[in-house]
């Protein structure tokens, strides 16, 4: 079939691009809202900011119906297994936004009970900084994620299979290094 035979209302594209276009414009978020970022997330979804403009307004409280996890707020040590389980329950293809300082890095909660960034333990596609981020910021994040999905998304999700390395920093911090050194010095002093 020659190109001149194709009517004006037919578009030529790759099936990857078509799938990515559809996915990017119908992100169904899983609101994993544990703190004040969750309030901003709710504001983003409601009428003033209207996340529906980007096709991402369908908050589903079952992970089986979602393809975008928004981790909004600090994640406590006891909550992390729950987060991982919810992430594993989400069907492919799926993406994750780490929203706010606490989800990204632990924020001001540098204590034994708070995970220092969810990206240490689950894959994160996009970070939204702020404490908490304004709804505009989150929407900018979602638009950026849509771009990311549209550029490089494939029908069967082969781009996900290439991400074999953990995303976040190694689970180790300077204080632990100091503690380990001190413990070793004590051991040396004892022997």
């Amino acid at each position: 079939m020659a190109m001149k035979d194709v009517p004006d209302n037919i578009f030529m594209t790759t099936i990857d691009a078509a799938a990515s276009w559809a996915r990017a414009n119908s992100l169904w978020p899983m609101p994993f809202a544990t703190a004040c970022c969750g309030i901003e997330l709710m504001a983003t979804a409601s009428s003033r900011f209207d996340l529906a403009r980007f096709g991402a307004e369908v908050m589903r409280f079952s992970p089986r119906q979602c393809d975008l996890m928004i981790v909004a707020g600090r994640v406590a040590m006891k909550m992390l297994p729950v987060l991982q389980r919810i992430w594993l329950q989400m069907p492919e293809p799926k993406w994750c936004i780490s929203m706010g300082a606490c989800a990204c890095t632990g924020g001001v909660f540098d204590t034994y009970a708070v995970v220092q960034g969810v990206d240490r333990f689950i894959p994160v596609d996009l970070y939204v900084p702020g404490c908490p981020p304004r709804p505009e910021q989150l929407m900018a994040g979602i638009i950026a994620l849509q771009d990311k999905i549209k550029h490089g998304g494939t029908l069967n999700g082969t781009e996900f299979g290439k991400r074999t390395q953990p995303m976040g920093p190694a689970p180790f911090d300077l204080d632990e290094l100091i503690r380990v050194r001190e413990a070793n010095e004590k051991l040396v002093a004892l022997s």
Partner: protein
């Protein structure tokens, strides 16, 4: 007869130390008499509500002689009167009698104190951890526990994108 006078006549002199700050009445009780004093206050003086039960770690605290202070705040719902009882326990193996038999609200409060400070309450029906995960081994509000923990917050499997 005021609560203080009746306590003084009931229990031997010098064992209970009374003090007051504004409208805050405080009694320091030795751990051996703690349960008797609390039972007496509940049964004879109608302190029918255990409002708070918490603990303080006095490790390296200036002038402190004991390691842990355990604080009971009682309320009399008839008169609105409040009373703060404080008792001390020490390492190793800090144990106090449970007051669950007097106030049911002691159930979770004692579990919380056990979870955070490692103070055991003998006679408690179900002394498990309440805030931290079951597999947690430390008592995080003790002063010798580092603020950032001993790596518990890092002790999880890591999911990569290709396998999840």
């Amino acid at each position: 007869m005021s609560t203080e006078d009746s306590l003084k006549s009931k229990f031997p002199q010098g064992e209970l130390v009374f003090s007051q700050f504004r409208d805050n009445h405080r009694i320091a009780v030795p751990a051996a008499h703690m349960f008797d004093v609390l039972a007496f206050l509940k049964n004879e003086h109608h302190f029918d509500m255990l409002a708070e039960l918490t603990a303080v770690d006095y490790l390296e605290y200036e002038g402190a002689r004991d390691r842990f202070g355990v604080v009971y705040v009682l309320v009399c719902t008839k008169s609105g009167e409040r009373l703060v009882l404080k008792t001390h326990v020490n390492d190793p193996d800090p144990v106090l009698p449970s007051v669950y038999s007097l106030w049911k609200s002691a159930d979770w409060l004692e579990r919380e104190v056990y979870d955070m400070f490692g103070i055991k309450f003998s006679g408690h029906p179900d002394l498990r951890r309440i805030l931290t995960p079951d597999e947690f081994t430390a008592f995080p509000l003790r002063k010798d526990y580092p603020l950032k923990g001993r790596g518990e917050r890092h002790n999880f499997p890591v999911l990569t994108r290709s396998e999840s």
